[in-house]
């Protein structure tokens, strides 16, 4: 396995490479489409820290994404905050929401926990609906400042920001996976009472996982306001975000960091292509069919399939 410093160096190289992409790819459309794929990579990676490593299924990914998007829009509208401040603000609100939700709900498990996370989406969406400053149900039009000249345009700039977020999320996920935190979370996933008996501080670790997972998913929402120049509650707290956050790691594999990345790459790319080629009803259908197929035929995801083949051979 690659050592952590080397992994970080490779990840940094990928991010720096993104700086030069506008010179190689002149057409902005590919940055718009690529942004969405990367956005789902971040969301899926964030979701997997709690849902995959610890085994706590979270249906409320869109609550974190929406909170991040609205926090960034608020900072932009109120203070004209730059992107870095928007990202930090979104990350903070995600961590706070993660800890608060975790503290209130982590004593319940399984389906009860999953249902409790859905409530968070409803609460936040209702809050936004009734906040005139955030545009209410009509949404909030956001006019972001011009991006640095180097990028050539807003889509190239937000793509680069999302690329940096993606490699950062992957680095964090891998670090958790190979550290004592990951081992403890896996123990919780296997058997929580057994882990507790073995001295694993389960509640504290689950809260930590909630905080990191929430922070990452909220940061994924931060550049959305700049990307679309508009935030509305229906899109920000969309069921599609929650569904994809769940489906992508399940398709790729929840045991390790490449699973969500692979699942997001596969599913989000198919969805992007489908949007501009065939009927979009296919989008939701594709997620559903692929999810059912993987749950039935490859419950360990794509990476699990590879391990299974290796075991058979």
């Amino acid at each position: 396995m690659m050592r952590m410093p080397l992994f970080i160096a490779v990840a940094a190289l990928v991010a720096v490479g993104g700086l030069f992409l506008p010179l190689v790819v002149p057409n902005p459309f590919y940055f718009y489409a690529g942004y969405v794929v990367l956005q789902y990579m971040v969301i899926a990676t964030g979701w997997n820290i709690l849902g995959g490593y610890a085994g706590y299924t979270n249906f409320g990914a869109s609550a974190f994404f929406g909170a991040g998007a609205y926090m960034a829009a608020f900072l932009l509208k109120a203070f004209g905050a730059p992107m870095l401040v928007q990202l930090i603000g979104a990350g903070c609100i995600g961590v706070i929401l993660g800890v608060a939700t975790g503290y209130l709900t982590l004593r319940i498990q399984g389906i009860y926990f999953a249902i409790a996370t859905v409530a968070l989406v409803v609460v936040l969406e209702t809050l936004v609906h009734n906040t005139d400053y955030l545009g209410g149900a009509a949404g909030l039009q956001v006019l972001a400042p011009a991006p640095p000249a180097w990028f050539g345009g807003q889509p190239q700039y937000v793509f680069f920001i999302m690329l940096v977020l993606t490699v950062s999320a992957v680095v964090v996920a891998r670090w958790i996976e190979v550290s004592w935190i990951g081992r403890s979370l896996r123990a919780i996933r296997a058997s929580e009472p057994a882990a507790e008996c073995s001295g694993v501080p389960t509640l504290r670790l689950k809260l930590l996982a909630c905080a990191i997972s929430g922070g990452i998913m909220s940061m994924a929402g931060a550049p959305y306001a700049t990307y679309s120049s508009y935030v509305d509650p229906v899109s920000a707290f969309s069921l599609t975000v929650g569904l994809n956050a769940l489906a992508m790691p399940l398709i790729g594999g929840t045991r390790s960091w490449p699973g969500p990345v692979l699942g997001a790459l596969l599913l989000a790319s198919v969805q992007q292509v489908a949007t501009v080629t065939i009927s979009s009803e296919f989008n939701i259908l594709a997620v559903g069919v692929v999810l059912i197929a993987f749950v039935a035929l490859a419950p360990e995801g794509l990476l699990g399939l590879r391990a299974f083949r290796r075991r058979v051979s």
């Binding site: 057409n27 902005p28 459309f29 718009y32 489409a33 969405v36 609906h129 009734n130 005139d132 545009g135 209410g136 149900a137 009509a138 949404g139 039009q141 006019l143 345009g153 807003q154 889509p155 959305y224 990307y227 679309s228 120049s229 508009y230 509305d232 229906v234 899109s235 969309s238 599609t240 992007q272 949007t275 501009v276 009927s279 979009s280 009803e281 989008n283």
Partner: protein
């Protein structure tokens, strides 16, 4: 090999021809290429009830192509499904402009879906026609935006002002206002309150209800107790149905002479069919109804061609609300392109700002923000609705225009009087 002078000349001429050929060919090729118009439509998702707007585009394209095209070039539509999701809009419009290389754009349907495309259109300096979007250009101020719908200047506040003009003209002194707790409704309600006060009317009841509310019995009892003479309602289709049913079940009182105004849903065939006679006496906004005072050139022909296509596609069979305006949006482009003899976006925009255009929904002229210079939102009162047959709404006299005066096809009857009739 020795190069003679003759060889040199031949090689030189050949090289020049070789260099010039692609330019000549591509110029000629560009002239033969179709003019492409791009749009997104909500073919799926919560706004999929508006997908009949595509029929308007298609009929316009067919008419233009049957007449020899625009500037001798065929017209081609490129339409993607936005799934009613604003998040899909930036990617779709980038695909239309950067990959499909469309020449002109139509906006998606409505304000929420158009909001993400306006900064894009402005930053790329693209010509775009708004499809029933309200106040889409108020903050962006893009000089190549034009609105197809007749909301008029300052539409966000004034689109339903005709209701208050009507109330004032009929001597109403006590106004009640009901609005769903959404931005669109609340803005209209706040505008309504201001106008009422300007006219010297007393707002005796002002209620904002949650958008998910379906039981209006308590709200309607409050209105009744307030002794309001007119009730301005800003509702969405599901609430509109609940309110109309509520009036039928518990009544609203004989003192109410004018009821409705901003009831979204009363323009759709499905709701008309569902509510039938319960609509009698209600006055609500519309953009087109088949009254004798709205006989624009081409509208009858358009609707007669629309009907069989709508039946086949199982969409709104009447098609009064949106499709005529998408056809008219196409007419704006074709008229301006023919007049200027070019597809240059700046010249076409300048021409549209300076000239009025005759369309199947009337004459359109635009102010500096691209809105119609004059509001022409109709206030129509439902009359003599019998049974739930949808075809009765194709006849005149079922949705009588009571405002604006220029298109009036009848006088306002009080709610109780018209329900008894």
């Amino acid at each position: 090999m020795k190069i003679t002078r003759r060889n040199f000349t031949q090689i030189g001429l050949g090289t020049m021809a070789g260099i010039a050929a692609p330019a000549v060919w591509s110029g000629a090729h560009a002239q033969s290429q179709p003019i492409r118009i791009g749009a997104s439509a909500s073919l799926t998702g919560p706004l999929s009830g508006t997908k009949n707007l595509v029929i308007g585009y298609e009929l316009w394209r067919d008419d233009i192509n049957a007449a020899g095209g625009l500037l001798g070039r065929k017209v081609e539509l490129v339409i993607y499904d936005d799934q009613s999701v604003p998040a899909n809009i930036p990617g779709i419009y980038s695909k239309l402009v950067d990959v499909d290389k469309v020449d002109f754009l139509f906006s998606p349907y409505g304000a929420n879906l158009t909001a993400p495309v306006m900064p894009f259109a402005k930053s790329r300096d693209r010509f775009i026609i708004g499809i029933l979007t309200l106040a889409a250009n108020d903050t962006i101020k893009h000089d190549k935006f034009f609105q197809a719908a007749p909301w008029g200047p300052n539409g966000a506040e004034n689109w339903a002002r005709g209701f208050f003009d009507l109330a004032n003209g009929n001597g109403i002194k006590k106004m009640a206002i009901l609005a769903a707790d959404t931005e669109f409704s609340k803005t209209a309600a706040a505008g309504g309150r201001r106008v009422s006060e300007q006219f010297g009317m007393q707002v005796v009841d002002y209620q904002i209800y949650p958008p998910t509310n379906r039981d209006f019995s308590a709200i309607l009892r409050n209105v009744r107790a307030s002794a309001a003479e007119a009730v301005f309602v800003c509702s969405y289709p599901a609430d509109s149905t609940g309110i109309v049913r509520g009036i039928q079940e518990i009544g609203i009182g004989d003192q109410v002479r004018l009821f409705g105004g901003g009831m979204v849903g009363t323009q759709y065939a499905s709701l008309l069919e569902n509510l039938g006679p319960a609509l009698n006496g209600i006055t609500s906004f519309h953009l087109y109804v088949p009254e004798p005072t709205l006989k624009f050139t081409g509208i009858d022909d358009f609707l007669s061609r629309y009907a069989p296509i709508a039946k086949q596609r199982q969409v709104d069979p009447l098609g009064f609300y949106i499709p005529p305006f998408t056809y008219a949006a196409g007419q704006l482009i074709s008229t301006a392109v023919k007049a200027t003899g070019t597809i240059d976006q700046a010249k076409v925009s300048q021409w549209l700002h300076a000239n009025a255009v005759e369309t199947i929904v009337g004459k359109m002229s635009f102010n500096e923000l691209g809105d119609w210079t004059q509001r022409r939102v109709l206030m129509c009162q439902f009359r003599n609705i019998q049974g739930n047959d949808i075809d009765q709404f194709r006849q005149a006299g079922k949705q009588v225009i009571v405002d604006p005066p220029a298109y009036k096809s009848g006088d306002l009857m009080s709610l109780a009087q018209s329900r008894k009739a």
